[in-house]
């Protein structure tokens, strides 16, 4: 075999260093590059995504859920929903998987400076927000109030439980946690109600604020409506979209919403940008 042709679809090898079982069907994988040089040169920004692969099973798309400010490792949180996520869930510490990225655009951190930040997450949708939340908390001085509203179907479905506790105990963070009606248990000390409803109940002020949201499509839809009702302008609301992707590079032709390629022009969009897209997501 000749030297071989390197190309843009070639993954880096990463080794799994730690696995956290977040919920019955969500795990967080912490991993790092096998090649030290790649680990040193690698950088990304909160909001970007990657392709993880298990050789023999295939590739799938995940947002990077660790913060760019923590440079010793990368993390992705993945829900077991299909072939590749099942295979990733079956990996053990020390196993080697494929990684391509970082891809896509990122949250407009510079434009968020000096503002009140309101994070609104649902289910595993907290994963991309978590990257940004830690990014902001590691530069806490640059922002005003930080509010995190996070909800899941049930107490068992809440991700990053240890971090929720940490945020709860911090005086410079306001955490509002909620579970869907019927999802609470006896020891639950948070809210009960759907995320958009709880958001309206707490009615954060749009003054000098940015609202960043991610969650299931239906939740995003109602959060956007709630934000509108609370007086947030479409420029003040940011979300990150999910579409099926293969290449992550604008070539394979499937993640478009109208003329916009989520892998290239997204996944991060303002609500104003979303309003211009055809309703196909």
């Amino acid at each position: 075999m000749s030297e071989g042709m390197t190309h843009i679809y070639q993954p880096d090898l990463v080794r799994i260093e730690e696995i956290v079982e977040e919920t019955p069907d969500i795990k967080t994988l912490r991993f790092n590059f096998v090649e030290e040089e790649r680990a040193r040169s690698f950088s990304f920004r909160a909001g970007q995504f990657c392709q993880l692969s298990v050789f023999g099973e295939g590739e799938a798309t995940f947002c990077l859920s660790s913060s760019p400010t923590r440079r010793d490792f990368l993390e992705c949180s993945l829900k077991r929903v299909g072939k590749v996520t099942q295979a990733l869930h079956d990996r053990e510490v020390g196993d080697i998987i494929g990684f391509r990225g970082p891809y896509g655009n990122w949250f407009p951190l510079e434009e968020m400076r000096g503002k009140n930040l309101i994070f609104v997450g649902g289910g595993i949708g907290l994963a991309p927000l978590r990257s940004l939340i830690w990014n902001c908390l590691d530069r806490r001085d640059e922002f005003l109030e930080v509010t995190i509203l996070y909800g899941a179907r049930s107490v068992a479905d809440l991700v990053y439980k240890a971090e929720l506790k940490e945020w709860e105990s911090r005086s410079d963070v306001k955490l509002i946690k909620t579970v869907d009606p019927g999802g609470e248990d006896e020891s639950w000390d948070g809210e009960v109600g759907f995320v958009p409803t709880v958001l309206e109940r707490f009615s954060p002020s749009p003054q000098e604020a940015v609202l960043i949201t991610c969650g299931p499509p239906i939740m995003i839809k109602f959060v956007l409506q709630a934000a509108d009702k609370l007086g947030f302008s479409p420029d003040q609301v940011i979300t990150t979209l999910e579409m099926k992707m293969k290449c992550g590079l604008g070539k394979c032709g499937r993640c478009n919403i109208g003329s916009v390629y989520v892998c290239k022009d997204g996944p991060v969009f303002t609500y104003r940008q979303i309003l211009t897209l055809p309703p196909e997501f």
């Binding site: 075999m1 000749s2 030297e3 071989g4 042709m5 390197t6 190309h7 843009i8 679809y9 070639q10 993954p11 090898l13 096998v34 692969s53 050789f55 023999g56 099973e57 295939g58 590739e59 829900k79 929903v81 299909g82 080697i96 494929g98 299931p216 499509p217 999910e242 579409m243 099926k244 293969k246 290449c247 590079l249 604008g250 070539k251 394979c252 032709g253 499937r254 478009n256 919403i257 109208g258 003329s259 055809p278 309703p279 196909e280 997501f281």
Partner: protein, 349 residues
């Protein structure tokens, strides 16, 4: 540097021999089992004596139906990943019809740009395109509607136009084409003014014989405003979602990446994939294109709106393969015609 010459049929045959002698692999249209396919040839005698266009487009050479992206092996010591071996020999595609050649500069825009697809681009670099003007277009041809021509030279390195009497008018289009002129000076004869005249005549005649015409003016603008329209349901009702149009279309370039093998070793491949299929956009809990109407809309929108928005050009060359291949008779030119009619109706109002 003279850009035009005359090539006799005997010298055309010699040209192919010479290119082969340089170590290039020469592919040309060959008749096999009733299909005209670009297959490797050892001599010009294997070329299909008379063909209008190849059954499959030349995209197979640049974005093959499947290609390995890597081979992997899992050992105790770790995972070994090997990229595919680069193709060593250069390739000559001889007898490419102008519509097919014209697809290349359109689709180059996707595979070049910020992130270069080295696999596609290295094949582009290593392939010499020798075009052959059409004398008798098929009744499914509509290249002129898209601004192309049976004697057009876009995407060609050389273009041959038959003048009759076993003579071809040769145009050296690209730098790579000019190098061919320089490498084999003994093959060419000077072209006269009347040869030039005749070459224009062949093109004009072929152009005039194309009956299928669509006025593309305003199509893109109509699509801009009609994402939601009953048209999508109407035109896709018959669509089986078989993707025959995708497979034969030169400009359709969507793909999937799949693994083949087990946990110890195997191959990751790029394979063709089509917006006609539901799985194309199927996510675990979400499917943005649930119906064939939505998928068909994507096909039309991608070619005639999204591609224009992103790259400033229609992703269609009017080769007509999609209408010839569709098992239920869906005719792209008819659809574009319906859009035109709606435009005219709107203009009259």
């Amino acid at each position: 540097m003279v850009k035009e010459r005359i090539l006799s049929r005997a010298n055309r045959d010699r040209l192919l021999d010479r290119l082969r002698e340089e170590g290039l692999r020469v592919f040309g249209p060959r008749l096999t089992d009733g299909l005209v396919l670009f297959l490797e040839i050892q001599s010009a005698s294997e070329l299909a004596p008379d063909y209008r266009n190849s059954t499959r487009s030349i995209k197979d050479f640049f974005l093959p139906p499947q290609e390995p992206l890597l081979r992997y092996g899992v050992r105790k010591e770790g995972v070994e990943v090997q990229p595919p071996a680069g193709e060593e020999a250069g390739t000559v595609l001889f007898g490419v019809r102008p519509c097919d050649a014209a697809y290349l500069p359109i689709i180059d825009r996707v595979f070049s740009g910020e992130e270069k697809d080295q696999l596609y681009l290295s094949r582009r670099e290593k392939t010499l395109i020798i075009g052959l003007s059409c004398e008798t277009p098929e009744d499914t041809c509509f290249c002129t509607s898209l601004g192309y021509s049976p004697g057009g030279s876009q995407g060609c390195d050389l273009l041959l136009t038959p003048l009759g009497e076993d003579r071809f008018f040769v145009e050296f289009i690209s730098e790579r084409g000019e190098q061919v002129a320089v490498r084999f000076p003994e093959l060419w004869q000077d072209a006269s003014a009347s040869d030039r005249e005749r070459r224009r005549g062949v093109e004009a005649e072929a152009k005039a014989s194309i009956q299928r015409r669509v006025d593309m003016k305003g199509i893109k603008e109509w699509l801009d405003g009609h994402f939601d329209d009953p048209l999508w349901e109407e035109i896709s009702r018959r669509c089986l979602g078989c993707a025959a149009c995708y497979y034969l279309c030169p400009t359709c370039h969507c793909f999937d990446i799949v693994d083949e093998g087990d946990m110890w070793g195997g191959t990751r491949r790029r394979i063709w994939d089509s917006c006609s299929f539901g799985h194309f956009t199927q996510m675990p809990a979400h499917q943005p294109r649930e119906t064939q109407a939505r998928r068909y809309r994507q096909r039309i929108m991608h070619k005639f709106k999204y591609y224009v928005d992103r790259f400033g050009i229609f992703a269609c060359v009017g080769c007509g393969r999609c209408l010839k291949a569709c098992p239920v008779g869906i005719d792209l030119t008819e659809i574009l015609g319906i859009i035109r009619d709606r435009l005219s109706a709107a203009e009259r109002k």
